[in-house]
Symmetry: C2
Subunit: 465 residues, 2 copies
């Protein structure tokens, strides 16, 4: 297969381009991206797409300015419109710290996406090739990655990134550049065996090919494709399960059915959570194996009300019948909207995953924990349920006197995060009759004079779907 055939194969197999599409080609000026641009340029009419070049002058090396100029000229000579960006990455590093390579990549993708949007490009083409893939797979393997990690990267990922050179080797790219008289810029940092990737490329792979398997790179690429297919099946399978366990989707919080989740196999559980994080964050960055293991433990063994802290301010919160994944503040500062509870009747409080039931019985009735017995004749036909409000007060049964709700909850040692989710049951004109689950108001208690008792019951996880 020629280098063109390999690019054609990638384009067709992975449907990299659509008719009439505008492709943003990310060109550093190095051999990979230059060869990619040249080939994409030559196949333009065959597949009917347009090109726009983007280059970032990252100011990381003294040659950076010349490289930008080189790319501008190259695009011009091919009559391809180009956007040349500048970003002071050294300055950013000084300010924020972090690894050069990570920061540069982060900035690059963010800016390229912005350019794509501006010029109307629907794909961003990257110059990654088969050897890059083999190196990535080996690097991930040495770190002990899971299936997804071992897939490396694919010809098409995160929707708009495409890699037309995925089947092409570095050797083929170099031969192509020679043959076409292309004179790419070489990044001297690629030749320094200080970065892990460079050491893998320059030392480890040659050694392994010499002593263990002469076809290593080829076979790692084949392995990556195989694993990609396997992973795809798992992804599809799990995304169907995901839809079944997801009860509610808010912008910052996903709620899952705990009962169903806790019956899933570990690997499925982890993939559901991963998919959830991806939905919330747009990526799975900074989430590692141990986070998933902790979440798994919480789901299978933790008690309700417990949570796992995750990177970037996310948590997984275990309720009675619900699991909530999302931003900590969103989950924990959630308060109840106002509900009306007719007597008799029941109402499900979605935010705290509780069901409150009101029944009426003749005479004076004894109740259990999680129940309140009130004098029905003092209540009227309905009650209101809401979250606590500043200034709330009531007459806690047994305390003889009025007390601020806030002080009461502090005395009861209710976790700060839990307070907003406690249902405050009031009369229609706003008098608190029950701090649900905690204390009845003295004014509405059952007395020897009570003729009918209103029994309020909390059902934890009284889920309604």
């Amino acid at each position: 297969m020629t280098i063109y055939d390999k690019v054609r194969k990638a384009i067709t197999e992975y449907q990299l381009v659509q008719d009439g599409e505008l492709i943003l080609a990310a060109v550093s000026g190095g051999p990979d991206s230059l060869a990619m641009l040249e080939i994409l340029y030559e196949l333009k009419d065959e597949f009917n797409y347009q090109l726009h070049v983007v280059h970032l002058n990252h100011k990381l090396r003294k040659e950076a300015k010349d490289e930008a100029e080189f790319v501008r000229q190259f695009a011009k000579s091919h009559e391809i419109p180009a956007t040349i960006l500048e970003y002071d990455i050294p300055a950013l590093l000084k300010e924020e710290g972090g690894s050069v390579q990570d920061k540069a990549r982060e900035v690059r993708y963010r800016l390229f996406n912005r350019v794509a949007e501006k010029v109307g490009a629907t794909k961003i083409a990257l110059g990654h090739h088969a050897d890059d893939l083999a190196e990535t797979v080996l690097m991930r393997f040495l770190r002990g990655a899971g299936l997804e990690g071992l897939v490396g990267f694919t010809a098409r990922s995160r929707g708009n990134l495409i890699r037309p050179l995925i089947y092409v080797t570095r050797e083929e790219i170099e031969a192509f550049c020679d043959e076409k008289g292309l004179t790419p810029c070489y990044d001297p940092s690629n030749a320094k065996p200080v970065y892990l990737r460079n050491r893998i490329r320059l030392k480890l792979i040659p050694m392994l090919e010499e002593e263990y398997n002469p076809n290593l790179r080829q076979q790692l690429v084949q392995m990556a494709h195989l694993l990609e297919e396997e992973n795809l099946i798992l992804e599809e399978y799990v995304s169907r399960i995901f839809e079944n366990v997801l009860i509610k989707e808010e912008p910052e919080v996903l709620s899952f059915d705990l009962n169903v989740m806790s019956k899933k196999k570990p690997a499925i559980l982890r993939r559901i959570l991963r998919l959830g994080m991806e939905k919330l964050k747009g990526d799975k960055k900074d989430f590692y194996y141990q986070h998933y293991i902790k979440m798994q433990e919480l789901i299978l063994q933790g008690s309700p009300g417990k949570m796992v802290y995750l990177p970037d301010g996310y948590i997984l919160y275990k309720g009675y019948k619900m699991l909530r994944l999302g931003k900590k503040e969103e989950i924990l500062n959630q308060s109840l909207r106002q509900y009306t509870l007719t007597i008799p009747g029941e109402t499900y409080l979605e935010e705290s995953d509780l069901l409150i039931k009101a029944e009426v019985k003749e005479g004076q009735v004894l109740v259990k924990k999680d129940q309140a017995a009130l004098d029905a004749d003092l209540l009227g036909t309905a009650l209101l349920i809401r979250s606590r409000k500043p200034g709330d007060w009531f007459y806690p049964l047994g305390l003889k006197g009025k007390k601020k709700l806030k002080d009461f909850l502090i005395d009861e040692k209710v976790d700060r995060f839990e307070r907003n989710l406690i249902p405050i049951v009031t009369t229609l004109d706003g008098q608190i009759v029950w701090v649900a689950g905690y204390r009845v108001d003295d004014r509405f208690k059952v007395t020897p004079k009570t003729q009918k008792t209103c029994i309020l019951t909390i059902l934890k996880g009284g889920i309604k779907r």
Copy 2:
């Protein structure tokens, strides 16, 4: 975790033993199997199982006899019954050739299984530990394995093999032997860096841990467990699909619904075929990636009647609506049992995946390819359909005269393997009226005198489930 806790963990997590079970412990006398035996012995009452030791004197080294004696004594001192086997592997190698390690393993498993059956053991315990697993995973990775390969081995595989030391490292085993005063036999061939596994253990892993990842072994073991879980999900998922695409299961041949199979994703297709081979052979040995790729190509692009040759005399045969996987002779020498076809009526010939239909129309009717027009009044109320028999003859239309069926089929260039599956349609008293799909008999043809035409039609892949 102590070494005992790690063994307990493996036993519990993978349900390695059942109450009252007899375990056959395979003991070479080396540190791994000796430590395993000692630990299994000490945990015997806790998990309530019995032990029986098995050892194979493979006659490969001069120390082999002493090792056998050592194991016998060790078992005796623990009052564990032991079976010491002898097998002249050098002689076998002389005769059959092959690699020492492969042959020794093959003989070992076969003999151990036999002993297990004889003494009533339901599991065979092997001394493989975490470092063995890491080495296996690395070895497979260097060969470019797929997901299943990268899983390495599991704590419980092929039903009766268990590996209680899967969480234990070599270092822990050595410390345990020291502490318990166990004096294992050391196999000098383990120290020679000539075998691939030894080179990986003695050279590659230490180098990678020194230069790339100090926790490599640990993380490879963790990776293997992760991939095992992912693989398990895929296996379950595919085995459900398998049941849906499998139309017929004979001892040597599996028949699949071609239409459904050809719509499956490559990775699923390959796993279905793999599962099929496992069902047929009991293992997947000798089946490699390229075999699955060839099968995939046949299914997706091959024409009906084509086949892929597989190791050990197996083939995959593509019919019209069926795929057949199994022993070549079974698939290709299959013949039709006798069917009765009433007129009018239809009958499905399972073995050749064809439906034959008989209709009657007034007058003389013209027919298409794959149809026969016969004089209905000459046929009676029913026909028989069967495979060719030795001595068959008929009067092929257009040839003027009698011809041996065998010669006719040779002249028609029908593949030898296809001949048995051609439906031979005869009258109830045995006269051939149609060699279905090839030629009508002159005696039963439609003539100007014909009043009613019997039209016979072959429907390829006239599948009935």
